[in-house]
């Protein structure tokens, strides 16, 4: 049985890689159809392997697999190996990744039609799937980091997919550089782990972690820090970059310059959740550091509210969804911080479905509108695109956590969990998340109303060509819509509350942090949870948001302008996105340029080039021409040199 698991895991991770390599290397030869076929075949294989693994682990309760595939290298006492850990958490992630990836692959056939770089596009997407699978399947930090960097690289490549467009190339740049900041922290965290634990293997590190509770290290002499807190915070810096948490979130809006399927796959459903997954995976470490838990929760919750607010003033349909992604990632992180890792992962799963749905729906709208993304130039699209409208509506209901849609179960639990939590800062986080629910409803329904209701504001030409998109686009929408309705109610019980838990022993929390256990005492099945949900505070906040959006954009369309005038300062803060970009531009971009100029003109050009490099070069040339003069070509000089040599050698020894 173990060998079957082993083989399935290997096939699952290698099939997308093979597809990607073939499409990438032989794309010209096998053509567009061939590349699409081979990559989709690879993903399909991976998807079914993931399903089969999920059945073995989750339903048949086979012992999880944790083994080394091969040793990549050894250095001193460190062994660097490539190995898989296939447990409940892994298979869940594998299913999400391959499922969304498969649908996005199919959707892209329609979306990317006629683009000259289709093969390249499919190659990257499959490569991404490979990287993401290695990330979630790793049993050690090295492979985790490998996957982490692979997805980062592909994300960069795909944001800049239309590299001839300046904004796309710059967006890719920004994503890459901001992620580098995060990865720097992440790598430092891994290095601290390696130096303290002597290994990078998860199981060994987790087993040894309790011994390090009282261990400290000093970064600045005189200040002792808890080793585990330092490790957790450094790893979290990585997660901040990857999962777009404050203040490293600034790259995600720009990432929307990439093709929309990519926004759905990478920048909504999978890659950006890698940070959430990583924190959940490292739960045995985080559990031991209350400080780190608290930081994770506060940063997550703050982001959930403040980044959601930005969506309210955004007019680009994709960016609205991008800000909503950051806000939802904040919810997941807050759940992790509260110790409700399973709720975080649960929200990750439901979010993957409805966010992919929203993005692909937006993509469908964008295609129909001939790449017009401004909400104010849309309106009443439901008349022309009924399928897109219904599915988008389902996605909106799911994200705003209206019972009984998928988002309700996960988000409501997160808010409850943070409410129950005793980690310091929990009350602040709770308030943020609650108000966040209101904000979520406002911006989600605003986008829905502006795009699909209200008056038609597009020009005559566009209106003339408006029609529902093709089945390759709508079918994935329908599948995702069904998942967004059903996924929550099906797995909420086993995932969060009932024993035995779906996730098994993967994310245990100590008794004092066990908020899900507390909530679980009041859980009496899906139906009662839904009923209870209608009475909850969250639901009424959401309803208030819905009502606000309805009044502002349908009932009294002139109202937003009045509000904008009244709260112009606040609005301009939001429009400037709290000034993060301006700050970075001023401090980091300009500062770096200044510093680089100094180093270039003075340190490099003057000191190194002209004094050290060329100076030593000139010196050596001078020595060399002196040496050359000794070689006169006269035989008697040679003989004389020999005699001198003998004398010198003799004196050298004897004296």
């Amino acid at each position: 049985m173990i060998t079957t698991l082993h083989n399935l895991a290997l096939i699952a991770v290698l099939a997308p890689l093979v597809g990607s390599l073939i499409a990438g290397l032989f794309g010209k030869k096998i053509g567009v159809k061939g590349s699409q076929l081979i990559t989709i075949a690879g993903i399909t294989v991976a998807f079914f392997c993931a399903l089969s693994l999920a059945k073995s682990i989750l339903i048949d309760h086979i012992q999880p697999l944790n083994e080394t595939i091969y040793v990549w290298g050894t250095s001193g006492s460190y062994t660097l190996s490539v190995g898989f850990l296939i447990d409940q958490l892994t298979v869940l992630m594998m299913c999400i990744v391959t499922f969304v990836s498969l649908l996005v692959h199919i959707y892209s056939i329609g979306y990317m039609e006629g683009d000259p770089g289709v093969q390249r596009f499919f190659c990257y997407m499959s490569l991404f799937t490979f990287g993401m699978l290695s990330l979630v399947m790793a049993n050690n930090f090295l492979l985790l980091f490998f996957g982490w960097e692979t997805v980062g690289l592909v994300s960069y490549l795909l944001i800049g997919f239309w590299f001839k467009k300046d904004s796309a190339a710059l967006g890719g740049f920004k994503a890459f550089i901001v992620n580098r900041v995060g990865d720097f922290g992440f790598l430092l965290g891994i290095a601290v782990i390696l130096s303290y634990f002597g290994t990078l293997d998860y199981a060994t590190v987790f087993a040894a972690a309790p011994k390090f509770v009282d261990s400290t290290l000093s970064i600045v002499s005189g200040y002792e820090w808890s080793t585990l807190t330092v490790i957790c915070l450094l790893l979290f810096v990585g997660a901040m970059g990857k999962s777009a948490q404050l203040p490293l979130h600034i790259w995600l809006p720009e990432s929307m310059e990439g093709p929309t399927p990519i926004s759905a796959l990478i920048h909504a459903a999978t890659m950006v959740t890698a940070g959430v997954y990583m924190v959940a995976r490292m739960s045995p470490l985080y559990n031991l550091s209350p400080t780190a838990m608290s930081v994770v929760m506060i940063i997550g919750a703050t982001g959930a509210l403040s980044l959601g607010l930005l969506a309210v003033v955004e007019n680009d349909i994709k960016r609205v969804i991008a800000f909503s992604t950051m806000s939802q990632l904040g919810y997941m992180m807050a759940a992790n911080g509260a110790g409700a890792y399973e709720a975080g992962i649960f929200h990750l799963a439901t979010h993957a479905c409805f966010k992919a749905l929203l993005f692909l729906g937006a993509g469908s709208v964008i295609i129909a509108m001939h790449h017009e993304q401004n909400l104010h130039k849309m309106g009443n699209l439901r008349k022309y695109m009924p399928i897109t409208y219904v599915t988008f509506l389902i996605g909106t209901l799911a994200i705003t956590a209206i019972p009984p849609f998928a988002g309700f179960f996960s988000k409501d639990t997160i808010i409850e969990a943070v409410h129950e939590s005793h980690v310091s800062g929990a009350f602040f986080a709770y308030l943020c998340l609650l108000i966040g629910a209101f904000v979520t409803a406002v911006y989600s329904f605003r986008a829905l109303f502006l795009a699909f209701h209200t008056s038609e504001r597009m020009d005559e030409e566009t209106r003339h060509h408006l029609h529902e998109t093709k089945p390759v686009i709508t079918v994935p929408l329908i599948i995702l819509a069904i998942a967004s309705i059903l996924l929550g109610m099906i797995i909420v019980g086993p995932m969060l509350f009932t024993e035995p838990k779906l996730m098994g022993q993967t994310m245990l929390v100590p008794q004092q942090l066990n908020v899900l256990g507390e909530i679980g005492k009041e859980y009496h099945g899906v139906f009662s949870m839904v009923l209870h949900g209608f009475l909850g505070l969250t639901f009424w906040f959401t309803m208030a948001g819905l009502a606000t959006a309805w009044i502002c954009y349908i009932k009294k369309p002139e109202l937003p302008k009045t509000i904008a005038l009244r709260f112009s300062t606040f609005r301009s803060i939001l429009l400037k996105r709290y000034g993060f970009d301006a700050f970075n531009q001023l401090v980091f971009v300009r500062g770096t340029q200044k510093l680089s100029n100094f180093f270039y003109y003075f340190a490099d050009a003057k000191v190194i080039d002209s004094w050290l490099v060329n100076g030593s070069g000139r010196g050596i040339q001078r020595i060399a021409s002196l040496v050359r003069r000794v070689q006169s070509g006269y035989l008697y000089h040679y003989a004389f040199a020999m005699i001198l040599g003998i004398v010198a050698l003799l004196l050298w020894i004897v004296l």
């Binding site: 021409s625 040496v627 040679y638 020999m642 050698l649």
Partner: protein, 478 residues
């Protein structure tokens, strides 16, 4: 006085070379210049046969014969094998060149063959006389080979210089040997070693004088500073095919000479010869690398580079332990591979009446024959010691040996000189890849030559990726 027939088995490869070589000489005398291919084939066959016999001794225990004058140990077997390989490759590369330049071909092969015999005797010597016999047998044919292109003035001049300086060095070597003999009354290495060990410290002066004169002979053969003066002139003056010969196999034999004389015959004078070798090594690395920079003639440049490389090779001997000797062996073996490759390339690129010898001849080689340029690039990077090529491991080996005997300063100095050295190797690469060729005409080289050169070049790469077995082999010799 009875006379027993000595055990001839250990000398079997040498006997084959000698007897069959003489036979070929006779045949060649009758065939004359008409069918040089027969001489060529026969000589190559003899080398192969002696290599096969040498190889069959590889796992034999050490054997002494001819009244302890001749030794066959693993060190001798390994050096002989690589000498045979080098000579074989060298003849292979030279065949077309000799025909194109209308040089006396048969003589080249036969002289080379007897020089090889000298090298084999040299590395197998266990007695000062055998050693001297080997040296002279190796040197005399080479003097003639340098002068082989009779109409060339520069070649004649080089041969003359080589011969006179060589005679001086031989004289000094003999003088040194006579002092050792005078002090110890013996010439057999192991007996001499015991005798030296038993000499009272205040009696050692004569031994030290002897040692210094012997070291002159060694340094001359290696081409180490300050006894290197002949080397650039000879490398430049000799026809490419002869330079190829001088630059490869005799260097391997010279290491044999170093080990036999210093390590086996005079281990008790270690402190003295270490001191001298340090001076010689530093001077060689410094002068070789600095002088190579200003050369426009690639043969001269490689000559200075070989001086520097001999400096590096000696570093392993300076460490004076088994690991160091093994590192030196590894160094010399791989160095001869690189030299064969780079000089082989020069030989193959030379046309009738046109010697490739200036660095500018390599201009834009990449457009004229990209594969040759790539092979040259491998050789140059390997000589500069760039990983993952084998030249890197060779340097790592000797430097590691130095660091382990706490000669860190010397290792650091050697590294500094290596940086200087990288300049002129990379310059060749720059010329090949980044400068415009003088003519667009492609270099076309026959397939078998190209194949041999490719194997030669790639072996430098493959050995660099998997250096383990060769290291083990060299280690097993000590």
């Amino acid at each position: 006085m009875s006379y027993d027939i000595p055990n001839l088995v250990p000398a079997f490869p040498e006997m084959i070379v000698f007897s069959l070589g003489t036979l070929v000489l006779l045949v060649h005398a009758f065939l004359g210049q008409r069918r040089p291919i027969i001489t060529y084939g026969a000589v190559q066959l003899i080398i192969l046969m002696s290599a096969v016999f040498t190889l069959s001794f590889i796992n034999e225990p050490t054997m002494l014969t001819f009244d302890n004058m001749f030794i066959l140990d693993k060190f001798a077997v390994i050096l002989k094998l690589f000498i045979e390989l080098a000579v074989f490759l060298c003849f292979f590369y030279s065949r077309v060149y000799l025909a194109d330049n209308n040089m006396p071909r048969g003589e080249y092969y036969i002289l080379g063959l007897f020089a090889m015999l000298g090298m084999m005797v040299l590395v197998s010597s266990h007695h000062f006389l055998t050693l001297y016999l080997g040296i002279e047998l190796m040197s005399l044919p080479v003097y003639a080979m340098v002068a082989m292109k009779r109409e060339s003035g520069i070649a004649a001049e080089a041969a003359m210089k080589y011969f006179i300086i060589g005679a001086m060095a031989s004289g000094m070597l003999l003088y040194g040997i006579s002092m050792i003999y005078g002090a110890t009354n013996n010439l057999e290495f192991s007996t001499v070693a015991t005798a030296i060990a038993n000499t009272a410290p205040d009696q050692k002066l004569i031994l030290i004088f002897g040692l210094v004169f012997i070291m002159v002979g060694i340094a001359f053969k290696l081409g180490a500073v300050p006894f290197h003066m002949w080397l650039p002139d000879v490398y430049q003056g000799a026809p490419n095919a002869v330079t190829l010969f001088i630059a490869s196999a005799p260097k391997i034999a010279a290491l044999g000479m170093v080990v036999r004389l210093l390590v086996e015959a005079m281990p008790s004078l270690q402190i003295q010869w270490q001191q001298d070798l340090i001076a010689i090594a530093i001077l060689s690395m410094a002068l070789g690398n600095f002088a190579a920079i200003v050369q426009a003639n690639i043969k001269r440049m490689l000559a200075y580079s070989s001086i520097a490389h001999m400096g590096y090779m000696i570093l392993g001997v300076i460490a004076a332990n088994n690991q160091g000797y093994a590192a030196s062996t590894f160094y010399i073996v791989t160095y001869s591979l690189m030299t064969l490759g780079s000089f082989g390339l020069l030989v193959l690129m030379s046309r009738a009446g046109y010697e490739v010898e200036n660095i500018s001849d390599f201009k834009g080689l990449n457009t004229r024959n990209p594969w040759l340029a790539f092979l040259m690039l491998i050789m140059m990077f390997s000589m500069a010691g760039v990983p993952p090529l084998v030249g890197f491991w060779a340097k790592v080996g000797v430097l590691k040996a130095l660091v382990q005997v706490d000669l860190v300063w010397l290792a650091a100095l050697a590294l500094l000189f290596a940086i200087v050295g990288a300049y002129y190797y990379i310059r060749v690469v720059k010329v090949m890849y980044f400068e415009e060729p003088d003519s667009e005409q492609r270099y076309i080289i026959s397939n078998d030559m190209q194949l041999a050169l490719t194997i030669n070049g790639l072996s430098v790469l493959v050995l660099g990726l998997f250096p383990g077995w060769l290291f083990e082999l060299c280690k097993s010799a000590f």
